[in-house]
Subunit: 434 residues, 2 copies
């Protein structure tokens, strides 16, 4: 681990530097597969499923009987756990509903804003070593609350052509309307263009490896919205003397096990805590099944000592972590002044795992410093705000003159005429202009 003591302000950007990823090679692959899926539809999807997932399928729609069988396979205590998580996620995201906002800005000028659901959304769930059924909950639950009509899920099949049963169970539980056994670039391309079997969607959500990330970015240039740009997962813990080092270490490790490129940072005002956390990390690391992965992330991790809370806060706001844990006496100071972070966990009994699974908050969060400008996935991610206005004759009389003056000053005469015609009609005057 890299231990850094009181880094100077001019060194912050170096200390907080995230590994940059270059994607130019991947980009060409992505564009090629997109073109093929656009032209050849299902045939291209099947070809790349065979190539990348090692399975020849004739059909990638998951039939209901496969879902039913899967559901029977899952242990009942896991089902209950998933149901509790779902219920909490539902409560928290339902509370995010907003009502119609209506304002009469000037007498006779009614303006309002309503949110309506994105009709067709696509959820991407990675396959591979860890079946991320928790991400199904995080995306499908708010999609359902928002009222999205089509909730499509794509996830890659294993070499036998199967989907992990827990993913199927979660998808069914949360109201996913269609499940497809396809992954990677070809899945994103299929949801972007549509194929014979898959209807195109308007917005694509979900995590993925660098191929999926680049594919989503490319899709966003082709008329489909995406949830957010994705990078390796991150955790920053601020801990003072009130923190429990073994807990802090366990949180840092839970981040580190995600991937070799995970970002793990401890910021502390206590040298004791710094050293104790370091020791605890090595101790706990030993027994982890994913030790090999976590070890790499831990080697790149940073333990940063700073003199006081003010500098700690500045440093953290400069970094803008995806996950931010606060274990400090002075927690209100951090809470009130944190500007850039995806999700914030407070106190010794609030592990990041809670938000990853079951507390109710969403775990799809901005990485790579994007917390400076992006929200994590929330109910609004599945809605769009639309504005409405209805103006009475009195209303257009009240604001018409201003519109005419502004349109004229911008050199847009037809904009002005649209008002002038109406004003003339009201005052029954005739104009020579029109």
């Amino acid at each position: 681990m890299n231990k850094i003591y009181n880094p100077k302000f001019e060194d912050w950007s170096e200390v907080l530097k995230r590994p940059t990823q270059t994607f130019s090679e991947v980009e060409e692959t992505v564009k090629g597969i997109f073109k093929e899926v656009q032209q050849k539809g299902d045939q291209a999807v099947l070809k790349y499923t065979s190539l990348f997932d090692g399975i020849n399928l004739t059909n990638f729609v998951v039939p209901q009987n496969e879902i039913d069988t899967a559901i029977n396979e899952i242990a009942s205590d896991l089902k209950s756990a998933i149901s509790l998580a779902k219920s909490n996620i539902e409560k928290f995201h339902t509370s995010q509903r907003t009502t119609k906002i209506e304002v009469e800005t000037t007498k006779g000028v009614m303006c309002w804003q309503e949110k309506r659901s994105i009709q067709r959304v696509g959820l991407y769930i990675p396959g591979g070593s860890a079946p991320l059924f928790s991400t199904v909950l995080m995306l499908a639950v708010p999609a359902k609350i928002a009222g999205c009509k089509e909730i499509v899920l794509c996830t890659p099949p294993d070499k036998k052509g199967s989907i992990n049963p827990t993913i199927l169970f979660a998808a069914q539980l949360c109201g996913v309307t269609k499940i497809y056994k396809i992954g990677g670039i070809q899945a994103i391309a299929a949801m972007t263009f549509g194929t014979e079997s898959i209807e195109k969607v308007y917005k694509i959500f979900g995590p993925g490896n660098q191929f999926v990330t680049i594919a989503k970015q490319y899709a966003s240039q082709l008329g489909v919205a995406i949830d957010m740009p994705a990078g390796p997962s991150e955790l920053l813990v601020f801990a003072d003397e009130s923190a429990i080092p073994s807990f802090v270490a366990s949180d840092l490790l839970s981040q580190a096990e995600h991937g070799k490129d995970s970002q793990v940072i401890l910021v502390t005002t206590s040298k004791n805590v710094l050293n104790d956390v370091e020791q605890e990390i090595y101790k706990q690391l030993e027994v982890l099944p994913r030790k090999e992965i976590a070890q790499v992330a831990i080697n790149n991790s940073k333990l940063i000592f700073v003199d006081n809370d003010e500098n700690a806060l500045k440093l953290i706001n400069e970094y803008g972590p995806e996950h931010f844990i606060i274990c400090a006496k002075n927690e209100d100071y951090f809470l009130n002044n944190i500007e850039n972070a995806g999700s914030i966990f407070i106190g010794n009994y609030t592990p990041e795992s809670a938000g990853d699974y079951a507390s109710g908050t969403n775990h799809t969060l901005p990485t790579n410093g994007y917390s400076k400008s992006y929200s994590g996935v929330n109910l609004d991610s599945f809605l769009k705000a639309m504005t409405f206005q209805k103006i009475s004759k009195e209303g257009i009389i009240n604001i018409g003159k201003s519109i005419e003056l502004m349109a004229e000053a911008e050199g847009l005469q037809a904009h002005k005429n649209a008002v002038t015609l109406r004003l003339n009609k009201i005052t029954n005057k005739q104009t020579n202009k029109i």
Copy 2:
């Protein structure tokens, strides 16, 4: 104009097709300038300002005395008009404020969501023939309400090195913190990377030509957020026999004068209205100063007759217009069932111009079918939703078991351990594992 009668469903995609734009050439130019601005900062910005805007500047920060002089130049009735517009925009966007949302999802598990401002935003305002000071209002007013600390504005200088006074007036009125005389790709690059004179921003807003559009898209791959992808402006009017053809024509023309690539569509259930609107368009077009531009857009426009309101609605939802005017007896049907549109204008006395300038709604809206997934600019565009959670010992006892089960099922042991350690501490048990 293209008149289309009852198009068959299978022809809709052709009828509603937007012109596709290819950007590959522009892309190389954008990447080149970005690289140079990143490496050489102000020097590169000055070079391209000289090259593209035809003016050699030594400094592009607009000083306060230039702003003061500009403000004195503006006619007082225009100032009043701008102030009324600002006041209405302020009322409507202030009403969009949301409060903290707090839920105890399970006993002892407190989750909340708060919105905090994006600290540094950049507004791009095009120069050229029409000085779009109205866009300054539409972007700076909500940025100020949101509490953004730095509100930077970039706009290209004219050949004398000046900025249109109305833009300076609007910027000053709305609390823009810094104004720079730079435009085009070099402005977007400067706001993306920062230079000696310009601090980098976290999110870039505003319209622009295809160079600016591609530059914003490229910026969004480099860590900066953007408001939305932009395309040519669009208006779709639905009119039945209750519509006043001269009004409809004036609205279609106000869209057409924006640019040769503007999208103008009339959908109607009345052949009389279709013919009357067509005649009115030709009549009104004659006297427009921007006739040459409007004529091209009108030539490409579409007048579509459909048999009934149901088909009209389906067609409109399939298109997803940026602006949608409803002049119909049956207006509630359209209001209640419109799924995809940026901003909706209702009734004969609600011209699109009203929303462009002064009613209070925002005029920065999703084009190119993006209304299917994107909101127009609103207060939330300048905020990000952050989630918080604080779990008590009781709380972690209540949800801990579920987290352990789910983490284990996903194969993430360290996630489980973070909970196990805490549960053990509470129950005072010792575990051999850790």
